[in-house]
Amino acid sequence: MKRWILLALLFAVAVALSLLLGVRHLTPSDVWQAVTAPDPRNPAHVTLLTIRLPRLAGGLIAGAALGLAGTVMQSLTRNPLADPGILGVNAGAALAVVLGALLLGRADNGIVTVLAFPGAALASVAVFLPGGGLSGDAGPVRLTLAGAALNALLISAVSAIVQFRGEALDILRFWIAGSLASAAERPVAAMSLVALCGAVLALAIAPRLEVLSLGGSLARGLGTRPGIVQAQALLAVTALTGAAVAIAGPIGFLGLMVPPLARRVAGHSLRLELAASVALGAAILLLADTAGRLIFPPAEVRAGIMTALLGGPIFILIARRLKPGAQG
């Protein structure tokens, strides 16, 4: 219980900092007045309503979705290094959006953003088939390398596109490292619905995922059909990752950091772990985004870069702890 309270506090602090800090620091009374009695001539109110609040909304949805996606992935693969960024699902979604934007000529078109979903779906199939991730006994090295290979392939494709179209580099810079800066221009409301569907699906299949983690044959004996549960889990991951990428671009390593922390908070029930992942994912992404705004004002360090800078060392930490038996 104490840990749940700590999590709630962390979440509240992350939300508050995200609203208050930035190039222009606001005070809590600014926030209160901006919400209760907005004044269009007061620059603090305008900042809050047109920049901070949309950004907060985008960060909440994208962070929660990525945290959930990470927990589902790690439960599905029984691999503590699984993450939508590391396994290339982010890159697949991003590449599909970049391709669509270049072909249709517009970056922030709603139709183009929808391409994130088939992109994420294709990438997750591509990484899980040769990685052997779905058989549940793929070692972390194998799955992680399959992800690295997929990432390399997709980044090659993106670089090739940039050579075709020089102006694409500016789009590319956004799509290589995600950011919440342009969340206001993105279809946050629509994507939050999709993410909600993914979250409901994840919660619904959580008990069966737990059974599946006992091993395929035992799960079959208990009346769970592994193929169907795996397909449902991938569907949930695709919906969650696609929604997050559509809002914020590819943000990696959240799915790596969230599940171990969520397990500490929630114990061993996957449903509770998923619930904790929602709050943790949102809180970490908001904190990363706020820190990125404060390092070199008025320039911003993208949230995707902040999470990647944090994520590399955490990846090493987890890799070091793997038991030799779990390697390979």
Partner: protein, 325 residues
């Protein structure tokens, strides 16, 4: 022996093709003139533009191939290549930082320093006192170092002005555009010295393959030999990166590809075939990258990434079937 000759012949054909094919396709006559110092546009195209580029591709490819094969043998793991373990991206990042800050040190030195720092970090972080370090942990920690260097590189990219970012992007992808004879002399000079150094250690590498205990029993100073071999391999990959950028997957593919083509058994011939295969992969990848799609010059890193990723995936799925890894 016959297969070695086939490999060398393939290399010669690839070299000739790379000299002749491009935006302007030339004939064999032009090649003849170009080699023997004739002038005229065709001969100059060969001597000034294509030949140095081909020489750099061959040298950098051979250096990366040697480095990959050495590390793969040393760690007894086909995935233990400098590009997988983050050494090449460390070298690339060091050069990017040097360019951004305006450092005037020679690039090969900067690149070697970056590669060595990455390698030392990987070894230090993978090591846990009192336990043997599995090769898989080294590979994973290397991947983590790779993630971190990529993050720092992306961060630097966003701090650069737009023109600088394009240049940096090209550099981080790995590119052989606009290489001159200076670059070629650099990679061949440094590469030759390091290859000689490696040749002196081949006996030790062969003994290490028997297992550390047996090698020690045969009078080899195991730790020292391992460190020297690893340092030489890292320096070789850094030398390649200094002229071509962190081209992905060449070092990973060269060793297995070379061994498969020549059927070599002894460590010395295996390393030689890895060098030849690396040079060949680099040359062909560059040729396809710049001439595969008319009117579009892709950087070589895009092509080796597109070639190498399926190779890695195939390798992984095959090793699952065999139950290795």
């Amino acid at each position: 022996m016959k297969r070695v000759i086939v490999l060398v012949a393939l290399l010669v054909v690839a070299t000739a093709a790379s000299l002749l094919i491009g935006d302007v396709n030339l004939g064999l006559g032009a090649l003849w003139q170009g080699v023997w110092g004739g002038d005229g546009p065709a001969a100059l195209t060969i001597r000034v533009i294509r030949a140095p580029r081909v020489a750099v591709a061959l040298g950098a490819g051979a250096a990366l191939g040697l480095s990959g094969a050495t590390l793969q043998t040393l760690l007894r793991n086909p995935l233990a290549a400098p590009d997988i373990m983050g050494f090449t991206s460390g070298a690339g990042l060091a050069i990017l930082v040097a360019i951004t800050v305006g450092l005037t040190l020679p690039l090969p030195l900067v690149s070697a320093a970056g590669g060595l720092v990455a390698a030392i970090l990987v070894v230090a972080l993978a090591h846990r006192p009192g336990r043997a370090t599995p090769a898989a942990t080294v590979v994973l920690v290397g991947l983590g170092i790779g993630f971190t260097t990529t993050a720092i590189g992306t961060f630097l990219m966003t701090r650069l002005p737009s023109a600088g970012a394009t240049e940096a992007q090209r550099w981080l992808t790995g590119s052989l555009a606009a290489r001159d004879w200076g670059h070629a002399c650099q990679i061949w000079g440094i590469g030759a010295v390091l290859a000689l150094l490696l040749a002196l250690q081949v006996r030790g590498l062969g003994l290490l393959e028997l297992g550390n205990d047996l090698a020690a029993g045969l009078g080899l100073r195991v730790e020292r030999t391992r460190w020297m071999l690893a340092a030489t391999a890292v320096a070789l990959s850094a030398a390649g990166v200094a002229v071509a950028g962190p081209v992905p997957f060449v070092a990973l593919m060269a060793g297995p590809l070379g061994t498969r083509m020549t059927g070599a058994q002894r460590p010395g011939t295996r390393l030689t075939s890895a060098a030849a295969a690396g040079a060949g992969v680099m040359l062909l990848a560059d040729l396809v990258a710049r001439a595969g799609i008319p009117g579009l010059q892709l950087p070589i890193g895009v092509m080796t990434g597109a070639l190498g990723a399926p190779y890695l995936l195939w390798r992984l799925s095959r090793e699952i079937e065999r139950g290795e890894l």
